[in-house]
C-alpha cells in the first residue's frame, strides 16, 4: 500500500487556488457519460450528490433510511464554524486553521486543514442562498456565537437544530436534482461491498432493505459518505443505524483505515439510566457557556445538590484550568469528569455523573435569558430525565460522539483504492486526534460542496470511463460473497440476538478502549473480541429470511463488521504509545495527569492495511510535518 498524500506544492495560502486551476477538467458534453455512485445522504453525501449532478454527472445516491433527509447529520445541534469574521473579533482563515490543527493535537495534515478553513466561508454563503434559516441579529445580519471554547465567535447556528437545517438545505438541493432526473435515489438500500476491477473502484453491491434483493451497480467512481463508526461502542450519541459497514467492507477490498482509535468522547451527555438504554443523548456543548461543572468535595456526599453549600463543591474545571475554565476542549473536559467519578465524587445512579449547574447564570441573567438560549435543551433534558434543570443542576456524563479516524484519503479525498473517494465523517482527514465543536458540519459540507466536485472531475478526466458492467466476473463474485455471508448469518439459528452481541462488544470497548486506555486493558480486549466473534458466528439468532424487510438481519450484518473493526481499533490504540487528543494512554501522562504527546515517534497517521481473514494487518505511516503551526503542548490552564 502506497501512501501519497498528493499535497500540491507552493505556499499553503495559495495551494488550493492554484491547484484548482491546474486540475484537469471533464468536457461538459462528456460529464453525463460518467456514472458516480454516492453512498450516503448526510451533509457530505447529499451536498456531493447534488453538486455533482448540477455539474452534469450521472449520479446514483443511496441511503439506508427511508428518506435522504433522515441521515444522522440531522441530529447535529450546536452549529457550524466559518472564518467569516462577521463578529469583528479577529477571526481569519489563518486563525481557524491554527485552532483546528492545535485542537486536533497536531495529528492532522496541515494542507487539508488550511483548505477547509478557506472554503468554510463559501459554505455559509451557499447555505444562506438555499434558505437555511440561521440565527439573525435584529438588524437582519447573521448572528454568531462562540462555541466549544473558541476565543472568537465564528459559529453559525439555527437554534439548537443546526444540523437539521443544513441537512434540509442539502436534501432540498438533492431532491431538486432527483426531480430533474439527474440523480437516481435509492433509499432503504444498504451498500454491502465495493467492487474493484483492475485496481480501480468500479461499483458496489447493495441490498434493497424492503425486498431483500441484492443488486450490483457499476460506475466510474464511488464516493463513500457513510458517516462515523461511534456505534462500535453500542451506546453513543449517534443514530441507531450508524455503522462501519461500508467503510469496513471497503477496507477489506484495499482501502487503508487511518487512526481507528481516535474517538471523541463528548463531555455533556445525559447519563445512562438503566440496562435498557439504547442510545445516549447529547446536551449541546453550548451549555458550558453558562453552566458550571462541579462535584461534591467529599466522596459519597448524598445530599441533594441544593443542600451542598459552595464551600463543599469542587468546580474542578475552573480550579484545574483557570484560563479556560468550563470551556476547555471536549477531550479535556471528558477526562476530568471521568477522573472525578473514578475518585468516587460522581453523582446520581452509580456515581457516573457530574453536575452542570445553571443556578449562577439564572441569578445573574434571569430565567428568561437562559430559557431563550437553551429552552429546547432544557425541555429535552426534562423529557428524558423527568428532572427540571431550572431548579436543580443537570447531571451529565461523557459519551462516545464522533470518530476522527476513518478511511485514509489523500488531498483529493481519494482512498488507497483509485476511484474510491471518502468524504465527511467517514474519512480520517481534518480533525487529527480531536475535533473542535462545530467543525464536523463544516468539513462534511466543505468536502461535498466545494472540494470533491473539483477533485473527482480531475480523477475522471485522467482515468476515463471504467468500462465496468454488472455482468463482469468481479461484480458476480462480489454479489455472491454478499449473498453467502447473508446466508451464513441466517443459517446459524442460535440463541442470542444481534443486539446482545453488540452490547457485549460495546461495553468491552468502552471499558478498555474508551476515555482512558492502557496496554494491559487493550491486550485483554484483543484477546476477548475474537472470542465474542466466535460465539457470534455460532450462536447468533436471526429470525426470518433474506427476502424481506428483516431488521435483525440488518443489525447482524453491522454487528459482524463492528466485531472485526473493534479489534483494529484496540490494536491501533495499543501501538500508539502516546496520549494525544481523544486518545489517552494512562502510561503516557504528565505528573499532573495531563496528556503526554510523543512527537518524535508518533507524528503520523497510522494507516492499516487489511491482509486477509485471521491475519495481522499491516501498519503504514503517513508522517505529518508542521511547517506553519509548530507543535506545542496544548495547555488550557
Amino acid at each position: 500500500m502506497k501512501l501519497d498524500s498528493a499535497v500540491p506544492s507552493g505556499p499553503i495560502e495559495t495551494k488550493w487556488d492554484r491547484h484548482r486551476s491546474e486540475m484537469k477538467l471533464v468536457n461538459p458534453a462528456n460529464k453525463r457519460k460518467f456514472r458516480v455512485i454516492v453512498v450516503g445522504s448526510g451533509l457530505a453525501g447529499a451536498s456531493a450528490a447534488a453538486s455533482l449532478a448540477e455539474l452534469g454527472y450521472s449520479v446514483h445516491c443511496l441511503c439506508f433510511q427511508d428518506s435522504p433527509r433522515r441521515a444522522h447529520s440531522i441530529a447535529a445541534q450546536g452549529g457550524i464554524n466559518a472564518a467569516k469574521n462577521y463578529s469583528n473579533d479577529g477571526d481569519s482563515v489563518w486563525r481557524l486553521f491554527y485552532d483546528t490543527v492545535k485542537g486536533g493535537d497536531y495529528r492532522a495534515r496541515e494542507a487539508n486543514v488550511y483548505r477547509l478553513a478557506q472554503v468554510s466561508v463559501n459554505i455559509i454563503d451557499q447555505c444562506v442562498a438555499q434558505g437555511v434559516p440561521f440565527a439573525r441579529e435584529y438588524g437582519g445580519l447573521l448572528e454568531n456565537r462562540s462555541f466549544g471554547g473558541a476565543q472568537v465567535s465564528r459559529t453559525f447556528y439555527a437554534r439548537g437544530q443546526t444540523g437539521q437545517q443544513l441537512l434540509l438545505g442539502a436534501y432540498q438541493a438533492l431532491e431538486r436534482q432527483i426531480g430533474l432526473g439527474a440523480v437516481k435515489m435509492s433509499a432503504r438500500t444498504e451498500m454491502l461491498d465495493v467492487v474493484v476491477r483492475g485496481g480501480r473502484a468500479v461499483g458496489i453491491v447493495a441490498r434493497d432493505l424492503v425486498t431483500g434483493v441484492i443488486s450490483t451497480h457499476s460506475a466510474d467512481a464511488v464516493v463513500l459518505a457513510t458517516g462515523g463508526y461511534g456505534n462500535a461502542f453500542f451506546l453513543s450519541t449517534n443514530a441507531k443505524g450508524c455503522n462501519v459497514t461500508a467503510a469496513w467492507r471497503a477496507h477489506k477490498r484495499g482501502a487503508g483505515f487511518a487512526n481507528p482509535c481516535f474517538t471523541q468522547i463528548h463531555p455533556t451527555c445525559i447519563p445512562v439510566s438503566g440496562d435498557h438504554q439504547s442510545k445516549l443523548t447529547l446536551m449541546s456543548e453550548s451549555l458550558r457557556n453558562d453552566g458550571r461543572v462541579w462535584v461534591p468535595k467529599t466522596a459519597q456526599d448524598r445530599r441533594p445538590p441544593s443542600e451542598i453549600p459552595e464551600s463543599d463543591r469542587d468546580y474542578y474545571l475552573e480550579r484545574r484550568y483557570p484560563s479556560f475554565g468550563n470551556l476547555v476542549p471536549r477531550d479535556v473536559a471528558s477526562r476530568a469528569a471521568k477522573a472525578a467519578c473514578d475518585s468516587g465524587l460522581g453523582v446520581g445512579p452509580g456515581g457516573l455523573g457530574v453536575y452542570l449547574d445553571f443556578g449562577d447564570s439564572i441569578r445573574r441573567l434571569g430565567k428568561s435569558t437562559i430559557e431563550a438560549r437553551y429552552g429546547n435543551l432544557f425541555d429535552m433534558y426534562k423529557k428524558i430525565t423527568a428532572e427540571n434543570p431550572y431548579e436543580a443542576p443537570m447531571r451529565i456524563y461523557p459519551a462516545v460522539h464522533y470518530t476522527m479516524g476513518g478511511l485514509w484519503v489523500d488531498y483529493h479525498l481519494m482512498s488507497t483504492i483509485p476511484g474510491m473517494f471518502v468524504i465527511g465523517e467517514a474519512n480520517f482527514s481534518d480533525h487529527g486526534a480531536n475535533r473542535l465543536g462545530a467543525s464536523a458540519l463544516m468539513q462534511g459540507l466543505a468536502d461535498g460542496y466545494f472540494i470533491l466536485p473539483y477533485t473527482l472531475g480531475n480523477y475522471l478526466a485522467q482515468a476515463g470511463n471504467s468500462q465496468a458492467k454488472e455482468d463482469q466476473p468481479e461484480f458476480v463474485a462480489a454479489a455472491s460473497d454478499v449473498k453467502a455471508r447473508q446466508d451464513r448469518l441466517l443459517g446459524i439459528r442460535g440463541k442470542r440476538s444481534p443486539d446482545s452481541f453488540h452490547r457485549e462488544l460495546g461495553k468491552l470497548l468502552w471499558d478498555k478502549c474508551g476515555m482512558a486506555r492502557n496496554a494491559a486493558g487493550l491486550k485483554e480486549a484483543l484477546a476477548k473480541i475474537p472470542a465474542i466473534r466466535a460465539e457470534f458466528w455460532q450462536n447468533l439468532a436471526v429470525p426470518g429470511t433474506g427476502e424481506e424487510l428483516n431488521i435483525s438481519l440488518e443489525k447482524a450484518g453491522r454487528v459482524a463488521d463492528f466485531l472485526e473493526f473493534g479489534e483494529l481499533m484496540c490494536r491501533d490504540a495499543l501501538v500508539r504509545e502516546e496520549s494525544c487528543g481523544g486518545h489517552f494512554r494512562e502510561e503516557h501522562q504528565m505528573a499532573d495527569g495531563e496528556a503526554k504527546r510523543n512527537d518524535a515517534d508518533f507524528s503520523h497517521a497510522a494507516v492499516w492495511e487489511y491482509t486477509g481473514e485471521g491475519k495481522e494487518p499491516n501498519l503504514h505511516k503517513e508522517s505529518l510535518t508542521f511547517e506553519h503551526v509548530k507543535p506545542s503542548t496544548r495547555s488550557y490552564k
Binding site: 451536498s47 453538486s51 448540477e54 433510511q65 427511508d66 428518506s67 433527509r69 433522515r70 444522522h72 440531522i74 441530529a75 463559501n122 455559509i124 454563503d125 451557499q126 447555505c127 444562506v128 442562498a129 438555499q130 434558505g131 434559516p133 440561521f134 440565527a135 439573525r136 435584529y138 438588524g139 437582519g140 445580519l141 447573521l142 437554534r159 432540498q172 438541493a173 431532491e175 431538486r176 426531480g179 424492503v210 443514530a239 441507531k240 439510566s273 435498557h276 438504554q277 439504547s278 442510545k279 443523548t281 429535552m380 423529557k383 423527568a386 460542496y449 466545494f450 466536485p453 439459528r493 440476538s497 443486539d499 439468532a541 429470525p543 426470518g544 424481506e548 424487510l549 431488521i551 435483525s552
Partner: protein, 249 residues
Amino acid sequence: MNLTLKVWRQAGPSDRGRLVTYEAKHVSPDMSFLEMLDVVNEDLIARGEDPIAFDSDCREGICGACSCMIDGVPHGPDRGTTTCQLHMRHFKDGDTITIEPWRARAFPVLKDLVVDRSAFDRIIQAGGFISVNTGGAPDANLIPVPKPDADKAFDAAACIGCGACVAACKNASAMLFVSAKVAHLGYLPQGQSERDARVRNLVMAMDAQGFGACTNTYDCEAACPKEIPADFISRMNRDYRSALLKGDA
C-alpha cells in the same frame, strides 16, 4: 410495570395484517417507548419469532423516522413529542396499549409498523427548494433577513417530515407538511422569485401523490411533534390563491 400490547403485525405490503397481543414485563418508567419495544423484540428473537419491525434512527425526536400510532394517536399521548422521546412514565401498570402504523393511502404499509413515506420526498422534488446551484452564492450578509421573518421561517422549517399530520387527519391530508415548506421558503427573501410557482407545484404534487383534502379540523396541528402551527395552512391558501390569480406569469 407490566403492560399488554396489541401490535399491528403485517408480513408485507400484500398481507392483510392483524393485531397480535404481547405482554411487556418489567417495563421501567425511564424507558422510552421504543426501548420498551426493543425489549419485547429481544424476547421475540429469543423465542425464534420475528421481531416487530418499526422505523427509528436518531431516537432524539429530530430525524422523523419513528412513526407509531399509539392508542389511535400519532406518537402517543404526550403532546409535542415523537414516539422515540415518549417515556413509559406516561403509562401505568396494567395498561393495554394498541400500536399501529400510520394509516394513509399515500403511505402504504411495508411491514408491521413500517410505512412508505416516499410521497413526501416526491412533493419536495416538485418545488420544495430554492433553485440555486453550488458556487456563485453572494456573501451571506448581502441578504439581510429581518429577525422576525427568519424566526418564522425557522418555525416552519422545524418540520421533521414524520407524517404524523397525515396520520392524524381523517382525510389523510398533507396540508400541514406542505404549508410548512411553503412558509419556510416563503418568509425568506431568497425564496421570493419562485414563490408562486412553488406553491402551485407543491399543491399539485400533493394531490398527485394521493393525499386527501383539508377540511380545517386541525387534528394535524395537535398531532405534530414539533407543534407546527396550522396558521401556515391559511397562509399557504392565501399564497395559492394569489399565485393562481397571477396565472402562469
